[in-house]
């Protein structure tokens, strides 16, 4: 990893979570993506982890020695892409 200050490296842009917060959480025992997600909210923003989760998986692999298959993927839910409520509010037999 680079010489930059991990407190200044933002990994999860949606929820503004830095590298140092992630490293600290892993040290506290939150050593998998599911736990990191609930502890730090990484992957809970509008991009639903498409930006940050792979990077965090790599951080986890480097820090814990786990394989990619062991760390990836946390449970995935619809929609794949954010959808406005109005798309479900109309249509069907009743409106």
């Amino acid at each position: 990893m680079s010489q930059q200050d991990p407190r200044k490296i933002v990994v999860c842009r949606c929820e503004n979570v830095t590298l140092s917060q992630i490293l600290e959480a892993i040290d506290e025992g939150f050593d998998n993506l599911e736990l990191l997600k609930r502890r730090l909210r990484v992957g809970m923003g509008p991009c639903q982890g498409t930006t940050c989760l792979l990077m965090i998986a790599r951080i986890l692999m480097q820090k814990t020695g786990k394989s990619f298959e062991e760390v990836f993927l946390p449970s995935n839910r619809p929609p794949i892409h954010p959808v406005k409520l109005k798309n479900f509010a109309g249509g069907g037999r009743e409106s």
């Binding site: 923003g45 509008p46 639903q48 929609p79 409520l85 109005k86 479900f88 509010a89």
Partner: protein, 377 residues
């Protein structure tokens, strides 16, 4: 491996009970979790907290929980607020029903009130109130952060030397001469004199391994969350006639639930029907909600018992065995009081809130189910 107490399930019940046991001086505790802490109902739930129920047992237990939530919030840094609940009524017959409910609740010290549409408007300025005839406001109710409620105490447990065995499945309870001897897990046997089964939906399967059939059936439930906004809607709002609800979580997302026809004990699957119903109901009350993005839709279960009340306490037929399951959708809000009561039972005492004793497993054996003035929530 030997422990003083084995807690099966690292959800909010298992974790808070372990914390309560530590406070009582029990030290050698092992927590067994089949997946990761909170992965069951605890991290899926709506996080609402209220004492406005329709049975003495629910009211008293929840009142105690509401006393404990601020203490836990302060001790572990768990976000908690008392922003209230609002039942919105759009049919005349519901108003009469709720007047009786409010009377019962007031008689037991829960400060609910029937209010009119203009007061609803004051409480929720961005809501369309044309269809609202009346509403019931519960100012004592609130919400908490479910992740912090499990993970913050968990961090503390780890520091105090509790063994948290994640990804470890408890398969079978070991009982000899009507006494608990330990638990068989997929990673080996753990011997213990006391075992607490707080394993949510798995509790029934575990108790079956020693011939006890907990009367719990799983009912699929559906919820979605939206993108976040600065907090501007305080109460959890229930639209009674459609069995739907919305709340703004402490982080700012809107969390929306709605009942759609479901069967017990089936695998929960995502259904467009849920999205249509939830979106229709709430964009009707909040037209601006039409432009809001849904980020995620998931399912979970209410572990339902025949009387919609949990099964909590010692299993009389087996020395050292305790259960906390079948919360029927209200486990999270009750957790602090349940943890307190279980710690009292496990250390040879009795719960301070005596209504807990009515929530024993034996009531089903006797055919003595809890009575509510009406089935509610």
């Amino acid at each position: 491996m030997k422990a003083e107490v084995v807690v099966i399930g690292a959800g909010v019940i298992g974790v808070l009970t372990t914390a309560a046991l530590l406070e009582k001086g029990i030290s050698n505790i092992v927590v067994v979790e089949k997946n990761y802490p909170g992965s069951g109902g605890s991290f899926r739930c709506a996080t609402g907290i209220r004492a406005s129920f329709t049975s003495r047992e629910h009211v008293e237990v929840m009142k105690r929980a509401i006393e404990l939530w601020p203490i836990l919030s302060s001790k572990y840094g768990i976000k908690y607020s008392r922003d209230g609940y609002l039942w919105v009524l759009t049919r005349e017959q519901d108003v009469e029903f709720f007047k009786k409910v409010v009377e019962f609740q007031n008689s037991r010290g829960v400060p609910t009130r029937v209010i009119g549409p203009s007061e609803v408007q004051e409480l929720v300025p961005t809501m369309r109130t044309e269809k609202i005839i009346a509403a019931v406001h519960d100012p004592l109710a609130g919400k908490a952060d479910c992740f912090e409620a499990v993970l913050n105490p968990l961090r503390d447990l780890r520091k105090q030397g509790v063994s948290i065995l994640s990804r470890t499945q408890a398969n079978k309870l070991i009982v000899e001469d009507n006494t608990v001897k330990g638990v068989h897990t997929d990673k080996g046997v753990i011997n213990a004199d006391q075992v607490l089964v707080a394993a949510g939906g798995e509790s029934r399967k575990l108790l079956k391994t020693i011939g006890i059939d907990l009367p719990i059936r799983d009912l699929p439930k559906h919820v979605m969350v939206t993108e976040t906004f600065k907090p501007f809607i305080k109460p959890l709002i229930i639209d009674w006639s459609t069995s739907s609800y919305i709340l703004q979580l402490l982080h700012g997302n809107f969390y929306i639930g709605a009942d759609i026809p479901e069967q017990y004990d089936v695998e929960a699957s995502n259904k467009i029907e849920f999205l249509r119903k939830a979106a229709r109901v709430w964009t009707d009350y909040f037209p601006w909600l039409k432009e809001v993005y849904i980020l995620r839709y998931w399912t979970g279960f209410y572990d339902m018992t025949p009387d919609h009340h949990p099964i909590i306490g010692p299993i009389k037929e087996v020395e050292g065995l305790y259960v906390a399951a079948g919360f029927s959708g209200h486990g999270f809000m009750m957790a602090p009081a349940v943890a307190e009561a279980l710690a009292e039972y496990i250390t040879g005492g009795k719960p301070v809130v005596k209504e807990f004793e009515n929530l024993n497993y034996e009531r089903f054996v006797r055919g003595d189910v809890i009575k509510e003035i009406a089935v509610f929530g």
